[in-house]
């Protein structure tokens, strides 16, 4: 698909040297990462929120970002989403350096972030929320009056919602009457409805009950089945083990380990998050 000369990525020693203990990646070396953050630093006043953090999201994987409070997870997420500008370092999409000055630019590059507050409108129904700000219009001259093509939007919204197997009672249901998991799912539908290839999720299961959490994890699996790359920031290691293939551990603003989920144990992750080393002091 791409010219091989454009792919300096995985084989590039510089890119990998910063990822401590990085295992040999399963991804084909000739395919660039869907999204990569290299040596990203960000300071807020005198506080270094991120200092040369690295993160690489391969195509089609679910990749968890974990770390204790203050490890820099949210800052990294906001930089990728275009909400913050990094002080130094690069963001690459499909191996090409990009500038992400604002959230809209990230969306145009095919990267959508689903934040915790979701940005949904409680007083509109699911279809209206899916198309909010990107409505479909009837053909001119009706479109000049801003006449919406509700029928088409509802039909497409129905397709996306059934594709993710979201159970809502009706496409006309207002968002305000939905549960937390349903709302999360609608926010994800909104992201994939517009050709997004990479979805970043910020604490997708925070404040959800057991059944709701299961439903959201199911949505993430479906995204994976549909070939999308998902990066999720999560506090819940059980969720990480349930859906993620790889994980990146941040500590004090640095990436200290990127590994396959099946290669580490829960105890090792906790020790890496808190103490920075995998082995218990003997």
């Amino acid at each position: 698909m791409n010219d091989p000369s454009e792919h300096p990525v995985l084989t590039d020693g510089e890119a990998q040297s910063h990822v401590a203990n990085s295992p040999p990646s399963e991804t084909n070396a000739s395919i660039p990462f869907a999204l990569e953050a290299r040596d990203v630093s960000k300071h807020f006043g005198g506080v270094a929120a991120l200092s040369s953090a690295n993160f690489a999201l391969a195509n089609g994987e679910v990749h968890a970002i974990v770390g204790d409070n203050g490890a820099g997870k949210s800052t990294l997420l906001k930089i990728i989403a275009g909400a913050h500008r990094p002080d130094s370092g690069d963001i690459l999409i499909n191996g090409e350096k990009v500038l992400i000055p604002n959230p809209r630019a990230a969306q145009n590059l095919g990267v959508t972030t689903v934040f915790q507050d979701l940005g949904l409108v409680d007083d509109l129904d699911a279809a209206a929320n899916l198309f909010l700000g990107r409505e479909l219009y009837h053909r001119p001259p009706l479109s000049w009056l801003g006449v919406l093509n509700n029928k088409a939007m509802r039909a497409i919204a129905k397709q996306h919602i059934s594709r993710l197997n979201v159970s809502i009672s009706s496409i006309d249901q207002l968002l305000g009457t939905m549960s937390g998991g349903q709302r999360q799912a609608i926010a994800v539908c909104r992201a994939i409805a517009f050709g997004t290839r990479v979805i970043i999720m910020d604490e997708p299961t925070a404040a959800l009950g057991v059944r709701e959490t299961a439903a959201v994890l199911d949505v993430i699996r479906r995204l994976h089945d549909n070939g999308l790359a998902v990066a999720m920031v999560s506090h819940s290691l059980s969720d990480v083990f349930a859906v993620a293939q790889r994980l990146t551990i941040l500590r004090n603003g640095r990436t200290i380990r990127t590994t396959n989920v099946c290669d580490v144990t829960l105890e090792e992750i906790v020790r890496l998050m808190t103490a920075g080393v995998a082995n218990a002091p003997s």
């Binding site: 940005g119 700000g133 990107r134 509700n150 129905k158 059934s162 006309d172």
Partner: protein
């Protein structure tokens, strides 16, 4: 279609078709039922309510309120409120009257009045957006300003020596049934704004802006343009209403009629429009206005004094809003979601 619809809660077709499980529509239906009950009671008492003469007079009395309530419900849905309509009605009535006295053609007076109203709407929204003052305060300011300008234009007096032909745009009657022109104005405005609310991006953006302004903005909704357009439409309709009202009286007066101002807001609220934004129905506001008119008219027909009509209007507002709040408050403790009426199709 697939699992999404398979798991959907089954609703009886009639409820689904009429959207009667929607609480805004329930509100409207309740309004109409109450209106008909009151009317039927008075009809039984003196046999005069359901006569064309009474109904047309009722309609003419409330026309200006019903007209302005339509765009006002849109403004309130978007999270603002336009108090200045009272002043705009006075100002535009005076402007149209003065221009007609100066020999301008009637249609041009009408157009200028609507434009003046739109300009006031633009001014309102510009002040709100540029200075960040809450709309409630801003539009109280422009309410006084527009009343002041109306008084300056006429030296504080009613517009004198208006040719009687001016009244035709307020009092003309059509067809053998003698349908007053005000009925056509009201229905016209109602249909325009029902269309705007239901079928255009402005209606949808108004809900988004009033419900979650930051989220709407982050999703690319033109929040500022939405607010500006809502106020312009409200001002323009107030201008239209100002001409219709001034022409009905015959001599436009530069005085704010507090009845018009407050009845518009009461009509919106009784019609299910939330003062907090995000929820509102143009048709609901219309039924609210008709309910106010019916209550006033029936108290007239029953020979109750005008002063008691004010008490009735106040009671209507408090009962309508109180019932809404009580019902929502009860449900909030139960689960944090909006109140929904029990699904009667689920009864076993």
């Amino acid at each position: 279609m697939s699992t999404a619809t398979a798991t959907a809660r089954q609703t009886t077709p009639i409820l689904k078709y009429t959207h009667l499980d929607n609480r805004d529509i329930q509100r409207i239906v309740v309004n109409i039922i109450v209106l008909l009950i009151i009317g039927a009671y008075v009809q039984l008492q003196n046999g005069y309510f359901f006569t064309s003469a009474n109904l047309w007079s009722l309609f003419t009395q409330i026309a200006v309120v019903a007209m302005i309530a339509c765009p006002q419900s849109l403004v309130m849905t978007s999270g603002s409120i336009d108090i200045s309509i009272g002043g705009v009605v006075a100002l535009t009535g005076v402007v149209a009257g003065l221009l007609f006295v100066h020999g301008w053609p009637l249609w041009l007076c009408f157009v200028v009045a609507v434009l003046v109203g739109a300009l006031m709407g633009l001014l309102n929204s510009a002040l709100i957006l540029l200075l960040g003052i809450p709309s409630f305060i801003t539009t109280i300011g422009t309410l006084y300003a527009s009343q002041g300008i109306a008084n300056i234009l006429t030296n504080g007096l009613p517009v004198s020596a208006v040719p009687p032909s001016f009244s035709t745009i307020g009092t003309a009657q059509f067809f053998s049934a003698k349908i007053p022109v005000q009925v056509f104005y009201t229905i016209g405005v109602l249909l325009i704004f029902m269309g705007v609310q239901r079928y255009t991006n402005l209606g949808r953006y108004a809900v988004a802006t009033g419900s979650n302004r930051r989220g709407a903005f982050a999703n690319g909704v033109p929040v500022r343009r939405t607010i500006i357009l809502c106020f312009i439409l409200c001002g323009a309709t107030a201008g239209w209403g100002g001409v219709a009202y001034g022409a009905r009286i015959g001599t436009p007066v530069p005085v704010v009629d507090p009845d018009i101002l407050f009845q518009v807001i009461v009509a919106c609220v009784v019609g299910g429009t939330a003062l907090t934004g995000g929820r509102g129905s143009v048709f609901g506001a219309f039924t609210g206005a008709m309910l106010i008119a019916t209550v006033n008219d029936c108290l007239d027909l029953l020979g109750v004094s005008t002063y008691w009509q004010y008490v009735a209007l106040g009671a209507l507002l408090v009962v309508a809003v109180g019932a809404d709040t009580a019902v929502r408050g009860v449900h909030k403790t139960a689960g944090g979601h909006r109140f929904r009426f029990p699904d009667i199709s689920q009864t076993s």
